[in-house]
Amino acid sequence: MKELLKKLTEAFGPSGEENKIREVILDEIKDYAEEVRVDALGNIIARKKGPGEKLMLAAHMDQIGLIVTNIDDKGFLRFSNIGGILPLTLFGERVVFENGTIGVIGIEKMDDLKDIRDIKLNKMYIDIGARDKEEAKKKVRIGDKAVFYEGFDVVGDFVTSKALDDRAGCAVLIKLLQEVKSPKYDTYFVFTVQEEVGVRGAKTSAYGIDPDLAIAVDVTMTGDTPEAGKMAVELGKGPAVKIMDRSVICHPKIKEMLIESAEKNNIPYQLEVLEMGGTDTGAIHLTREGVPSGCLSIPTRYIHTPSEMASMSDIENAVKLLIHVLEK
């Protein structure tokens, strides 16, 4: 599982540019799914047939990133954000482009910064070590996207990496696909695109599948760090059954289904009320005439920073919990 998660977090895939991560996932699932297709937006839709209702499982494969908007005469790149990026997390950060080009984020007039709010994206630039515009353009084009540089490390009982949001969810879906023998549902495993810019892939894939019920697997915030906001979710206490966030109030049927699976099989779980943020469930449950939907979340610290942190045991327990939901 750790190996899989490492491979997934290291694959390049900012929203709208998910080719590399898509290839990695397709390779992992090709021997296990009965049908696999990639839709117009780039979502992977893998099916494992079962006798019952249509169940859609969704995890998003995109990650937050940056997009180049201008290359100046001296070869410095200006950029905009893809998804929710706090400018201060970029300070002194390294980023990497799909072709392997490495860049360092610089900021104008660093010594004049008096306040954290002075750190703005339009005052920052990416330095790829190019001597001038011509040399820069050989490596990077306007519109090219970059992601955080940080790799995958094990720290104590936990793991840390960029893009655990939501490669952790992708790892859960891949494991499920590999391990579930005969699902009781007609199950669609969907690896969605463009979640970070507005749950876009979930919207079109759910329309295409027209599911009877849906469960997303995504990360959620925690309240277990110094001076953290009040939130009753901790790392290592099991996956969290989402009650609500800004985008959805989870359907009681799905909520109960997840809780029952945990309790019957002695799998630790927590309940999640997220006061901000949303997930693919938000788009899926409003598809067509409405879809009873829920979400199982992986508790994660430092979400949307270069070093997110989660517990392997929570991820493994999420797989167990969902296997019991799926298996006949």
């Binding site: 908007t69 201008n70 893809i82 306007i142 507005g198 079109t204």
Partner: protein, 337 residues
């Protein structure tokens, strides 16, 4: 001149009928059309029914104002419809409602302002429209609460540059009318949409009805090639040709499609540029997420000072936009998508 007629027509979001009527007249010789429930003008240009089904879209609506109350002295209070910079409003003339009543957006004269008041821009809530009415009763004979108001501004040519209100997006509407006059070995469909400026509402239902294989959205986008802006903030440059969108707040383009548009432009010697910011949004935001997803391209004419009574665009950019869309449709016709 059609662009003059289109930009001078009244078409604030929710009141687009004047623009729609001009477009109906313009396209009736070339295409079949219908008006849908929200007011979109949906058209089909007959041709061989082969793949891909190409949709063209441009929005008819423009930003404007809505009258919210009539004061006892006959002054009109208003709200903005769509994104308007409050600072551009004062002293502008507007036309209001079906009777095209003229009004002036007024504010306290500079003589009467406290020194502090002069330092901050006037907010729309402190402004009012003066229609020369004696009192409320007099005003009510001319306008009603809920009437829309549009900037009162004439189309003018300044060499290659045209000046007009509502170039965003009558320029897109104009490009489509020119395309519909041409012949292709492919059926075309599309929509002149309503209510883009307040959340791409018309495009949402138009794309649902048309269900194309690929969509081309024609827009007027902001150009910031002006003093006080550094080059990295220009986004687009007037005179450098149509701008292709890579990303905005509603849409991320498929890089392969963008590259294809650039190649088509290069092969046909059409000047074009990339749109170099990630702000803003267009009908593409809704169209590309319709049903199971629709590959979408956004091509924009760069316009300075959009969402104001006097925006500027280059005639050569408009001609290059028409040429690029024409070449692109021919490329789809030959090679599919």
């Amino acid at each position: 001149m059609l662009l003059k007629e289109l930009t001078e027509a009244f078409g604030v979001s929710g009141a687009e009928h004047e623009v729609r009527n001009i477009l109906k007249r313009e396209i009736e010789s070339w295409a079949e059309y219908r008006t849908d429930a929200l007011g979109n003008l949906i058209f089909k240009k007959p041709g061989p029914e082969k793949k891909p089904k190409v949709m063209l879209a441009a929005h008819m609506d423009e930003v404007g104002l809505m009258i919210t109350s009539i004061g006892k002295n006959g002054w009109l209070k208003f709200d903005t419809v769509g994104g308007i910079d409050d600072r551009i409003l004062v002293s502008k003339t507007v036309v209001i409602g079906p009777n095209k009543v003229k009004g002036v957006i007024g504010a306290k004269a500079i003589h009467l302002q406290e020194p502090k008041e002069r330092e901050t821009a006037l907010k729309s809530k402190n402004l009012y429209i003066d229609i020369g009415a004696k009192d409320r009763e007099d005003a009510e004979k001319l306008v009603k609460i809920g009437d829309f108001a549009a900037f009162d501004s004439k189309y003018e040519e300044m060499g290659d540059i045209v000046k007009a209100k509502a170039l965003d997006d009558r320029v897109g509407c104009y490009v489509i009318t020119e395309i519909l006059k041409r012949n292709y070995d492919l059926a075309l469909c599309g929509a002149f949409t309503v209510q883009e400026e307040i959340g791409m509402r018309g495009a949402t239902v138009a794309a649902y009805a048309l269900e194309p294989d690929i969509a081309i959205v024609l827009e007027g986008t902001f150009a910031a090639d002006v003093p006080d802006t550094k080059e990295e903030g220009y986004s687009t440059t007037v005179g450098m040709g149509p701008a292709i969108t890579l990303m905005d707040r509603t849409f991320i383009a498929d890089r392969k499609l963008v590259d294809r548009v650039l190649q088509v432009a290069e092969r046909n010697n059409i000047k074009c540029q990339l749109r170099r910011t990630a702000f803003g949004g267009t009908d593409a935001g809704k169209i590309h997420l319709t049903k199971e997803g629709i590959p979408t391209i956004v091509i924009s004419v760069p316009c300075r000072y959009i969402h104001s009574p006097a925006s500027l665009a280059s005639m050569s950019d408009i001609q290059n936009t028409i040429a690029l869309v024409d070449a692109l449709i021919k490329d789809f016709q030959e090679r599919g998508i």
